[in-house]
Symmetry: C2
């Protein structure tokens, strides 16, 4: 521990590359496995309290009887989200990351190792609640869906351009609260368009159900 700061920094950067490379390898293996089982796998990320779980619940309720669903819940310490989705008679797998601020592809591989994936059509992965770190780690999913909500203030897109760049679609959740909070949804959409003009954006209220059917359709369900 006697190295100069510069040395620490260099070592850190090398290891980050190594970790990212290893993650990409694991993600590719996950993707191969998911394809073999014909699964649609969605990695749903966003800050704490943006309504990721409620969105998954809304999607599950609408897919009942049409698709067999597995939910994988990422959380530092609790099983709150898995319990909520599980109460809809959906199979769940919990990953508790301890202090890790995101899921990675190897966690997914280990968590699903003894799961019979042939039973399912769709896997919803709810990432750890965090708008930054999960963006950097591919899990092997088909799409990374970023959930933001009108309760997070007006700057969450402008402050997180990389998260938006790495998204395959964005859900703006809790639109039922936009008027009460005097939140300008159109301005937020413009912020998203500035980062990626072609990114699909969905205005949703997981609570009222508004926009959920549109999202389902876009997901091909």
């Amino acid at each position: 521990m006697t190295g100069s700061p510069k040395k620490h920094k260099t070592v850190g950067i090398d290891i980050r590359k190594d970790l990212f490379g290893a993650n990409e390898d694991a993600a590719a293996l996950n993707k191969k496995k998911f394809r073999e089982h014909g699964l649609v796998v969605l990695d749903i990320m966003g800050s704490v309290g943006t309504g990721k779980t409620q969105l998954i619940e809304a999607l599950c309720d609408r897919l009942r009887g049409r698709r067999q669903i597995l939910m994988v819940a990422g959380d530092l310490a609790t099983t709150i989200d898995a319990d909520r989705v599980g109460s809809h008679e959906i199979d769940t797998v919990q990953i508790n990351t301890g202090t890790a601020c995101h899921l990675d592809a190897r966690m997914i591989r280990v968590a699903l190792d003894d799961v019979d994936l042939s039973k399912y059509d769709v896997v919803f992965i709810e990432n750890v609640g965090n708008l930054i770190c999960p963006a950097g780690y591919s899990l092997g999913a088909d799409k990374k869906i970023v959930v933001v909500s009108v309760t997070e203030g007006p700057y969450m897109v402008r402050k997180h351009p990389l998260t938006i760049k790495r998204a395959d679609m964005v859900v703006i959740n809790k639109i039922d609260l936009a008027d009460i909070l005097e939140f300008d949804v159109d301005a937020l959409v413009r912020d998203i368009r500035e980062v990626d003009a072609d990114l699909p954006v969905f205005r949703v209220s997981s609570k009222t159900g508004d926009g959920v059917d549109n999202l389902l359709k876009a997901l091909g369900f």
Copy 2:
């Protein structure tokens, strides 16, 4: 990059220890420097959109003419928060972290290297918007203040026990919205008490000013 996953994992863990150790060393040096200048330094962390900047603005307005303030803003990519606080005639230093999800002690050291700290009484450090990662990195501040808000859903404390454990005080912000959002503030306080029975908790609306004077008093201003 041909090592087995196990090898990667081991290397990663060693480096994390190294990084954390190096950070603690740098934080101790920062703390020494802050003490030499008689500064009160507050590390303010919380998820994006919890109102950290608005809280700092409210504190600055009430300390006008009584304390000389420096604000250090941590943000991935923008200067939005520093610009806001700067508009109150407060000196600011911006740290853009790129992809890093938290400030660390060395970033603070570098950012303040050419700043004449003898001009100031108080330093507000606004950490990168994230309820997880900044908790693990001491900056050398006197207190780590965790800001949560009633817009983040009911689980943000239960899901982040380590963040609460590492806090010196918690501000529950946006209490003016609690009724509209049907948010149970008392239940949240109970969640905090379960993690740390003695942690000071302040109910605040940075927008209306409710509770800000109480917080100032507790901070010794």
